[in-house]
């Protein structure tokens, strides 16, 4: 049974090891890169450290109307994000699931508000929705004024946050294997049921991230709001008003309030998406 020989190949082990490049300045370079990275991070973090240092912790006191602004901000942001989800989800789904000639035009349309600086966006909105504009005038006749009204405030928040939500939701939908949706169809489920029971749960983390982003954007929207909806006053405009009326001391409490309200949702989403740590 042992007549079949094994080829003796092990002699090759003597090949020289020296032909491989030495580690030269590699370690040094690694340190330089790491230093750059850390410096960058520190740099980004500095102003927040500065805020902690500068805040007069003993005298943090809300101004009159600050709580009202909080209520306005939270209330309308919830509404705005809901609306954005309402119309942004179909748009995102469409972008994720269909491909057609001229799709780039649609993509561009979605991205335009994101690429327009907020101040300019505010001006554009006045041009279209202002009381004497081509759209605002007929709307005004219907009793819908879009300057300094809750509707205008929503409008500003929606334009400020919708593109972010759509982009995030689109990639969340793209992350759902089409296989699973097709399977659901072959199992006799309608496309509608498939969407609610399969696509939505499977993209929920990505959608959550999109909602968190939209939330932060809508809550913090300032440039657009300043132009078309000075009223009702939400936190960012109130920040500005406080700054003008009372000065910096009135800004600190509002700033911390803002962080307190704005950050939990994104942090929660971040924590959730990190949990099943299965990036392979």
């Amino acid at each position: 049974m042992s007549r079949m020989p094994v080829t003796p190949l092990d002699s090759a082990t003597t090949a020289d090891i020296a032909s491989h490049p030495p580690a030269d300045g590699a370690a040094r370079r690694a340190w330089v890169v790491a230093a750059f990275g850390l410096a960058g991070l520190a740099f980004l973090a500095l102003p927040f450290l500065g805020l902690v240092i500068s805040t007069p912790w003993g005298q943090l006191q809300l101004q009159q109307g600050d709580l009202g602004a909080l209520r306005v901000s939270v209330g309308y942001t919830v509404l705005a994000v809901t609306l954005v989800m309402g119309f942004g989800t179909p748009v995102a789904w469409w972008l994720a699931r269909s491909s057609f000639r001229g799709k780039w035009v649609v993509e561009l349309l979605v991205l335009l508000p994101l690429l327009t600086p907020p101040l300019a966006m505010g001006l554009l909105l006045t041009m279209s929705y202002g009381p004497y504009s081509w759209l605002g005038q007929p709307l005004g006749k219907l009793g819908l004024s879009l300057t300094n009204t809750p509707a205008a405030f929503l409008l500003a928040q929606i334009y400020g946050s919708a593109p972010y939500y759509i982009v995030a939701a689109r990639s969340a939908f793209e992350g759902v294997p089409r296989d699973l949706e097709q399977i659901s169809l072959t199992l006799g489920s309608s496309p509608w049921r498939t969407f609610w029971r399969i696509t939505l749960p499977l993209s929920s983390l990505g959608l959550g991230a999109g909602v968190a982003l939209a939330w932060v954007r809508a809550l913090g929207e300032f440039g657009i709001v300043l132009i078309i909806a000075y009223y009702p006053q939400g936190l960012p405009v109130k920040l500005w008003v406080n700054l003008q009326d009372t000065g910096l001391s009135a800004v600190y409490p509002l700033l911390w309030l803002f962080f307190l309200i704005g950050l939990p949702l994104p942090l929660l989403m971040g924590a959730l998406s990190r949990r099943p740590h299965t990036r392979a």
């Binding site: 109307g65 001006l123 006045t126 202002g130 003008q244 009326d245 009372t246 000065g247």
Partner: protein, 283 residues
């Protein structure tokens, strides 16, 4: 809901409007007060272009109001209060002691401002009346104190990038101690609770009586956006108010102007550091 009263006002009036006049008119006229404060010229231009709407416009100096008059949106504007230019300074400044001395009249303020390293702040003379007024004040001081070159020494060129800040950030810069001193209206400086140096009437632009004989001697040139050079003259630091012709709620607007001119309103102005209205109506 209650009808809305929209007031557009020069940004420096924020504290008075939002904390005193606004609440008062809400009670009196049963309206919902909505104030919008920003650079007076900016607001006037937005109103003139019908980008925003308001019932009442309150301007500082006649200039912005005249923009609306030219646009046919305002007829007669009435004076409601006045103020004066002061030099505000930061209590944390290295030179705070010197400023204190100047405020007490022990040293000339213009010498403190000329100390090397003093950081002075003001607003954009192109877009903000206050930015123009501080230039006039310095030009007048130059003559008044017989100190040729004083304006140039303190301000540098009219458009001096190291001194000019956006209006909303100017006083908060001072508060956070990031500049040593800045121009300011007495009223705004008081509501920000900042220490300040009063200027003589001949410099602080508050007295319409001095306009023809004294203030009008100050001129400076500024380049218009269209490239033409315009020579500017002083305008008295008077606040004018008017109801706009396209006001959605003119009745409430009238009520608001009435309130401002009433003794009750004037008391509020006074409490926030404003002086009584000076001069006649603006036609």
């Amino acid at each position: 809901a209650e009808p809305v009263l929209k007031v557009a006002y020069a940004g420096s009036m924020g504290a008075l409007m939002d904390k005193a006049l606004g609440p008062a008119i809400q009670q009196q006229a049963h309206v919902q007060y909505q104030g919008q404060g920003a650079g007076a010229y900016g607001l006037a231009r937005l109103l003139a272009a019908k980008q925003i709407s308001a019932d009442v416009f309150v301007s500082i100096t006649p200039g912005p109001m005249q923009v609306l008059q030219k646009a046919g949106l305002v007829g007669v504007a009435v004076p409601v209060a006045s103020t004066q230019m002061v030099i505000a300074y930061s209590p944390q400044s290295r030179y705070a002691k010197d400023f204190e001395a100047a405020a007490a009249g022990r040293t000339p303020w213009y010498e403190v401002l000329q100390k090397p390293g003093v950081k002075f702040g003001r607003t954009d003379p192109k877009t903000d009346p206050q930015g123009r007024n501080i230039v006039f004040a310095m030009l007048l001081a130059q003559t008044y104190y017989k100190q040729p070159g004083l304006a140039k020494a303190i301000l540098g060129p009219v458009v001096n990038p190291s001194q000019i800040f956006a209006e909303p950030s100017l006083l908060s810069r001072l508060e956070s101690g990031q500049i040593d001193a800045s121009s300011g209206y007495l009223s705004a400086v008081i509501s920000h609770k900042l220490p300040y140096i009063r200027l003589p009437n001949e410099i602080n632009l508050s007295d319409p009586n001095l306009a023809a004989t004294w203030y009008d001697k100050a001129h400076f040139d500024i380049t218009q956006p269209d490239g033409k050079t315009e020579t500017l003259s002083t305008q008295p630091l008077v606040f004018y108010a008017a109801v706009l012709k396209n006001a959605p709620n003119p009745k409430a607007g009238e009520a608001f102007i009435k309130l401002m001119r009433s003794p009750q309103g004037q008391a509020m102005f006074k409490r926030y550091g404003y002086s009584e209205p000076k001069g006649g109506d603006l036609r």
